[in-house]
């Protein structure tokens, strides 16, 4: 179905042609002659604007739909209905207009800034949070030939911008002039930094095998079938499976989602670093978290799940961008599923999990990937790589996490 596949690019080309035609018509009507550099510059500007508007529109709509679908799916998993009333002009529409109601509520709430808060930093924190989050999805390949910006070190760009999130969390927590906010911000930053390491190491594992840091190159390295029936997606290899799981858990932790939502859980330290934010600023933090979640899921799809490629050639009639967003939707669904299943981690459990299990496993995955690659991707490579990831996992899992620990020596300071 070539028409559907080319639909986004064809739309963009149509708009550019329209702009060119309208400008040419105006100039011929008014009789002025533009210098030779104006039209290309204008077309470049319009092309950039189309890409920006399309990205922001798509991600805002996905954010809105995600917020209502998350509530409905969580509800169904907990044996209750989700929001099912907000509709449009008397049609209930199964509550799908709930984001509109939520948006209106957030916009019309009073914006309270505490008196002792540092006004400039308090104002800038949501901006520093949302600006990198909105730039993150710009390097992902959404379809064949549909990368908004083609960067040769795109993966590195992604993680560099993720660092902005940590800065924003600190600014939010410290500027609220509230010791619980500061504590919440410290815990949030500790969590983010600890989980960033396995995240980056998993991406490095993929970069090792694919030989490039460019997202397009990584997607193309996952084309074709191996052994005749298995798609070459990295998730279907032993080291890739482990790295995908590590990346997924790191993605849950980076976007502060359950079970890692200690920084912003409702029963922990009020709302942690977000306590003193109300109204639109809170909505912006919320939006930045969700858009960041989509971006990092998109990166997971690119790195491990084959990007925009269909698993088998006969499924190619579904357009490539449909495959990308379908995989992204599936990952978002699993994130909601995990949220419905697991209780929240305690801060020390979180730290132990990151440093004692995930980091050694990511190194094991690196060694396993190198073994698999340099023994020529054959059966020997598969066997060795399964051993190299499996044994540390069982050892670490058994000895660190499934045995009953004796309580450590606690010092009670003020009890008699």
């Amino acid at each position: 179905m070539n028409f559907l596949e080319n639909l986004p690019l064809a739309t963009k080309k149509f708009i550019l042609d329209l702009v060119e035609w309208v400008c040419g018509w105006f100039c011929s009507k008014l009789g002025i002659q533009l210098p030779g550099w104006v039209m290309p510059a204008l077309l470049t500007l319009v092309s950039i604007l189309i890409v920006i508007v399309a990205l922001i529109a798509v991600f805002m709509v996905m954010f809105a739909l995600m917020s209502v679908f998350e509530r409905k799916i969580l509800a169904r998993m907990q044996n209750r209905y989700g929001p099912n009333r907000v509709g449009f002009f008397r049609w209930r529409l199964c509550g799908l207009f709930q984001p509109v109601a939520d948006g209106i509520k957030m916009l019309t709430k009073e914006d309270i800034v505490p008196r002792g808060a540092d006004k400039i930093v308090h104002f800038l924190a949501p901006i520093v949070m949302v600006a990198p989050a909105l730039i993150l999805p710009v390097i992902l390949p959404y379809g064949r030939g549909m990368v908004p910006i083609e960067l040769s070190s795109g993966i590195l760009f992604f993680f560099a911008l993720g660092a902005g999130t940590e800065l924003a969390v600190f600014m939010a927590g410290w500027s609220s002039n509230n010791k619980y906010s500061v504590m919440g911000a410290m815990r949030a930053i500790a969590q983010m930094i600890s989980y960033e390491l396995p995240l980056v190491m998993s991406a490095v594992v993929v970069a090792l095998v694919a030989g490039t840091l460019s997202p397009n190159g990584i997607v193309e390295a996952q084309g074709g079938l191996s052994f005749g029936f298995l798609p070459n997606w990295f998730v279907f290899t032993p080291w890739g499976f482990v790295a995908c799981l590590l990346f997924y858990i790191g993605a849950l932790a980076e976007s502060n989602r359950s079970p890692f939502d200690l920084p912003e859980g409702e029963s922990e330290l009020v709302a942690g670093h977000l306590t003193e934010y109300s109204g639109f600023k809170y909505a912006i933090f919320f939006m930045a978290e969700y858009v960041g979640m989509f971006a990092i899921n998109g990166l997971l799809v690119t790195l491990f799940l084959g990007g925009y490629q269909a698993p088998f050639a006969f499924l190619d009639f579904i357009p490539s961008w449909c495959w990308f967003f379908g995989k992204l939707a599936f990952l978002a669904f699993t994130m909601v599923w995990v949220r419905a299943t697991m209780p929240r981690f305690r801060i020390d459990q979180m730290m132990q999990f990151a440093w004692k299990l995930m980091l050694p496993m990511s190194f094991a995955a690196l060694i396993s990937a190198a073994t698999w690659y340099y023994t020529g991707r054959g059966l020997l490579g598969w066997a060795l790589s399964i051993l190299i990831v499996g044994v540390p996992y069982l050892i670490l899992g058994y000895f660190c996490f499934t045995r009953r620990h004796t309580a450590d020596n606690r010092r009670y300071l003020f009890s008699e």
């Binding site: 550099w37 470049t44 540092d118 910006i149 040769s152 070190s153 590195l156 560099a160 660092a163 940590e166």
Partner: protein, 190 residues
């Protein structure tokens, strides 16, 4: 983005590359000035972060993408966090008046101002001399393309030509990490 830079540089303004340099440079100077002159230490740290970000943008604008992104990742992500944690976890900004070796407050202030100015002049002089007398200042300006500094070339250089310093740095960092963990560990009650 390089496409955009090329289009922009073919504009009739031949100040375009300098203009692309001036804006991050201005932010860097503002950030540095803020870092030394503001009263609140956290504000100083945040202005320093602005300087780091502007430096990263400068690297990217010059075509050194890898270095630019690593600058953002390492400096803004890690070093800034380190500075902020250090400010928060230490009782900052309290200078004990009794530590002053000179009896009069104005004399110590004047002496520290003179000392600071001398150090600043020394550093500035060294920097300017090394920039103006270096071979890069005389070389022709080459057009910027994506192929001049890809990550692969840097990786190859690191692992083939400068392997020993790389491994030495790795050992040093590991030792520092272990040392920090040991220092931070509580002593067991015997």
């Amino acid at each position: 983005m390089h496409d955009l830079i090329q289009r922009l540089t073919s504009l009739p303004w031949d100040q375009a590359p300098q203009w692309l340099f001036l804006i991050p440079a201005l932010f860097m100077l503002l950030g540095a000035a803020g870092a030394v002159m503001l009263r609140n230490l956290i504000h100083c740290a945040l202005c320093l972060t602005l300087s780091f970000i502007a430096l990263g943008v400068l690297f990217i604008a010059l075509g050194a993408e890898f270095v630019g992104f690593v600058q953002l990742l390492v400096y803004v992500g890690a070093v800034t966090m380190l500075i902020l944690f250090a400010i928060l976890l230490t009782p900052a900004g309290e200078v004990a008046a009794s530590n002053n070796p000179f009896r009069s407050f104005q004399l110590s202030r004047a002496l520290s101002a003179v000392g600071g100015a001398m150090i600043a002049l020394l550093v500035l002089g060294t920097l300017l001399a090394s920039i103006f007398f270096s071979p890069h200042a005389r070389a022709a300006v080459t057009p910027v393309t994506a192929a001049t500094a890809p990550a692969a070339a840097i990786g190859e250089n690191l692992l083939n030509h400068t392997l020993l310093p790389l491994q030495g740095t790795a050992v040093l960092l590991t030792a520092a990490l272990i040392g920090a963990a040991l220092l931070a560990k509580e002593e067991k009650q015997s």
